[in-house]
Every structure is written in structure tokens, then in C-alpha cells.
Amino acid sequence: MTFSGDDRGQMYTIEGIAASIVLLGVLLFVVQTNAVVTPQTEKSIDVGLYLIAGDTLGCIDRVDESGNSTLKICIAAWNGTQATYASVTPTEERSIERLSSEISALMPVDARYNAYIVYDNGGLRTVPVILTGEPGDNSVAVSKIITLNSKDPMSAQWKMMGGFPRVVELRLICWYL
């Protein structure tokens, strides 16, 4: 048995025990911690906003005792003017202002929305009627369709267009700030 003078590459006992204790402690510590998981997908928040926006339009479209819904009354009374970013709703357009206040009462405070009226007049027209900003990347869109019949009370704009029964879509694009 020769004890060579070159002891390189050997681990002495005390160092060995200390090293193994440190490694073991590390492994035990890591194994017994719970990894805190948060859903990283933003889809869950989108779904929430989609549900709320859908509920908002559904509630505004409810039919009351007189057989009308607020949504239909407001769209039927729309005079065809557009909204700009300067004025959130078309100027001097009471029915869209009423629609905007009803939507605001139901939507969350920290969400913004744009509303567009989509109809067919020799091609599909999408007219913005409520503009509060540029939709962000995570916006959701919900739609509600109403039907205008020739006997319904409506503005001159719709009467001139004719084509009854006319299907008009109100599209709401919502996003969180």
C-alpha cells in the first residue's frame, strides 16, 4: 500500500460529509417547496370580458312591457351620423348618447368600448357611433343583431334606405385599460 504524495482528486472525509449535507439540504429544500403557479394565458381575462360585454348587450336588448327594447329604439332612432374621436358620440345625437350611458352603467369602470353599426346598403357599411379610443391588442368583440320592420318607428335615414325587414348589427369592441 503506497500512500502517494499526490492526493489530488480526493475528497477528504470532512469535506465529503459537509458537501453531501449541503447537497442534500438543497435537494430537500427544492423538492418540498410548492411551485406557485399563475395562469399565464390572458385568455381567461378575455373570456371574462367577453361574458360581461355579452351580458351588457343582452340586458340592454331585453324586451319590456311595451314590446320594445332599448337597443332597438336607439338604433332605430339613429340619424346616420358618425362619431369622431373628438366627440365620443355623433354630435347632437340623443339616441346614441342614451345607448352610451346604458352601456356605461353595465360595463366595468376600467374597460373602454367602441360601438359600430353594421348594415348593408349596397355593400356592408361599418359606421362607428361610439369612439373612446384605439382598441388594444387584447380586445374582444361582441355583437347583437336587431331587425327593423317597415312599421317600426324609426328615423328618416332608415326609412329612405328601405329594404325591410332590415337586419342591423351593433358591434361592441371592448378592452381593458
Binding site: F3, G5, D7, R8, G9, Q10, M11, Y12, I14, E15, G16, A18, A19, V22, L23, G25, V26, L27, F29, V30, T33, A35, V36, V37, T38, P39, Q40, T41, K43, S44, V47, G48, L51, I52, D55, T56, G58, C59, R62, V63, D64, E65, S66, A105, L106, M107
Partner: protein, 336 residues
């Protein structure tokens, strides 16, 4: 033996190398174990709870509920009006007014569920469909934004007594809460005005336990009492007291009489169902509810208004916007 005692006692592995390796292992293992967290949405736990939460809120907001009772000939029958009947007849809890109006909740059903859950949380949880092959627990909150009073009212709070593990799914729905029918008296009607508002309660069903509410707007004046008369323009029997038999609300807040109001205020005169006169069989005695103006100024429509069938003044549902929030989790150990 002497050769074992070396001058160079350095070990090959430094202790600080081991500590450094330990720190590196901790960080690396933590980072690696964080990767499955990025796919948490597709783990069985998260998918399961989201669909259960959506299904339960859909049942609560869009379904009117169901009760099962024994029909007159013994065969089972059912109806949607579970709120006026015993818990034992309750088959499914739903808060909607009826199937044709999704997301419009009935205040009667919310109050009934509140009472049921006060008695027994398990009943409320079971009848919503959360006690099946897997048992879930829930917290359910409904708040109403009373736009006339200008405050948020908590209408329903069902809290589970069971503990929450860390996986809880919350879902929020927007609803309209139907607080009942009110007679809309628009006093701008240019008829022959009178200083007494006279409402004939003929036509109210004896089984109807709701209060009679008159909503007066578009006028200004002072109300000093509400009385009963057996005929139109007849003698006023002032047997009712404010606070006990009726209350007067101006903009949602109860007021003491005499109370003045202006054209921008909403005045609600609520006559409690118990105060209405009934005969020995429980049927309503037909008569007139009179709202009297203190200064005898003619501000009210000057004709007899029929509560249930007036061609001009209609009964309308008063709906306020609200929020329904549901939290769902499961302590069931046998879940996937």
C-alpha cells in the same frame, strides 16, 4: 502512517464550490419547475373549474329554477315559481324571471335563496348542481347598483363554511335585477288634475303578496298622508300610519310626512300588502288608495286609476343593473 499527515491539507473540492453549486441548483430547479406553471390553463384542475363556474352562473342567471310537487291527482307536477314554496319542493335553483328574459333576475327569487342559504348552505349548493359525482363548494354574491339611491346594495351572499384550497375559479356576470312592478304615474298628463291621487286596487289577485307601489314623477308638491276610501271620491279613512302600513320614498330614501318633492324627484309610495283590507275569506276588498296633497294643489291626474288594468298608466317592472359573482372550488380528493 506518517505519510498520511501531509503538509498540503487542501481538499480537492472546495467548500465554497459546493455552496455555489447549491445556489445554482436551487435556481435551476426553480426555473425548471416553473415551466409547467405556464401551461396551468390546460391542467385538469383549471379547465374543470372554469367550465363548472360558467355552467353554474348560466343556470343562475338564465334559468328560472324548478320545483316539483304532487299534483292534485298524485302525479308529479312542476312549476318555475319555487320561491314561494317549501325547500322540500325545490328541484333546481335559478334566479331568472323567466326563460324568455335571460340575465334578468327576480328579486323574489334572490330573497328566497338568501333565506334558504341562511337555513342551510348545503341546500343552496346542492340545488345549483354542485353536488354530483364530484362535490364543489361555492361563494355566491349578487350586488345591485340602485341608480336612484346612488349606492351599491348587497342582495345575496351565500358563503361556504368549508375551507378553500388554493385553486379557486371566479366568474362575474352582469345582470339586471327586477325589483317588482310599479304603477308609473306620469303627472305630466294634461288631464283634469286633482289633489288626490286615487288608485283602485280592483284586480289584484288575493294570492299576490307583493306590495302596491306607485311611482309618481314629473310633478312637484307635498304629500301629507295616504288613506283608504271604499269608493271613488268617497270618504277618506285615515287608518294607515306612515312606516307601519305604508312608506313614502323620495329618490330611494324613506321620508317622514309631510314630505315635499320637486319635478326632478322620483316619489315611490309603497303600501304594504298586509295593510290592504281583506275580508274573512282573505279576498281583497276593492277600494281606492288615496295619496293626499297637503296644500290641496292639483298635481295628480284627476281620474280613477286602475292598478292592474288602466289603459293609460301601466304597471312596469323596475330593473336595476347588478353583478353576480361566483367563486367555485373543490375539496374532493378523488378528482383528477
Amino acid at each position: 502512517m506518517r505519510s498520511l499527515m501531509l503538509k498540503d491539507d487542501r481538499g480537492q473540492s472546495n467548500l465554497d464550490f459546493i455552496f455555489g453549486l447549491g445556489v445554482f441548483l436551487v435556481t435551476f430547479t426553480y426555473a425548471v419547475s416553473f415551466v409547467p406553471g405556464m401551461f396551468a390553463a390546460v391542467q385538469p384542475d383549471a379547465i374543470d373549474l372554469t367550465s363548472v363556474a360558467y355552467r353554474t352562473t348560466a343556470i343562475l342567471a338564465e334559468d328560472p329554477g324548478w320545483r316539483i310537487y304532487d299534483g292534485p291527482d298524485g302525479t308529479p307536477a312542476g312549476s318555475e315559481g319555487w320561491e314561494s314554496y317549501d325547500v322540500s319542493e325545490l328541484a333546481r335553483v335559478g334566479l331568472a324571471v323567466d326563460k324568455t328574459k335571460p340575465n334578468v333576475l327576480s328579486l323574489d327569487k334572490i330573497v328566497a335563496l338568501n333565506n334558504h342559504s341562511l337555513i342551510n348552505y348545503s341546500v343552496a349548493r346542492d340545488k345549483v348542481g354542485l353536488n354530483g359525482s364530484v362535490i364543489y363548494d361555492m361563494n355566491l354574491y349578487v350586488t345591485m347598483n340602485h341608480t336612484v339611491m346612488g349606492q351599491n346594495l348587497e342582495m345575496l351572499k351565500v358563503k361556504s363554511p368549508n375551507y378553500t384550497n388554493f385553486n379557486v375559479e371566479a366568474l362575474e356576470r352582469r345582470v339586471m335585477i327586477d325589483t317588482g312592478k310599479q304603477l308609473y304615474v306620469d303627472c305630466y298628463y294634461p288631464g283634469t288634475p286633482d289633489y288626490d291621487l286615487q288608485v283602485n286596487v280592483n284586480g289584484i289577485s288575493p294570492m299576490d303578496k307583493h306590495n302596491v307601489t306607485l311611482r309618481i314623477f314629473n310633478t312637484s308638491g307635498t304629500i301629507d298622508f295616504v288613506a283608504w276610501s271604499s269608493t271613488y271620491n268617497g270618504f277618506l279613512m285615515q287608518t294607515w300610519t306612515n312606516g307601519m302600513d305604508y312608506i313614502v320614498l323620495i329618490n330611494g330614501m324613506p321620508v317622514s310626512l309631510p314630505a315635499a318633492f320637486t319635478a326632478g324627484d322620483i316619489v315611490e309610495v309603497v303600501v304594504y300588502n298586509d295593510a290592504l283590507l281583506r275580508d274573512t275569506y282573505g279576498n281583497l276588498i276593492t277600494g281606492i288608495i288615496c295619496v293626499h296633497e297637503a296644500d290641496h294643489s292639483s298635481i295628480f291626474p284627476g281620474q280613477q286609476i286602475f292598478y292592474t288594468s288602466d289603459p293609460q298608466f301601466k304597471l312596469r317592472s323596475v330593473c336595476y343593473p347588478g353583478t353576480m359573482k361566483l367563486e367555485v372550488w373543490s375539496n374532493d380528493v378523488f378528482r383528477g
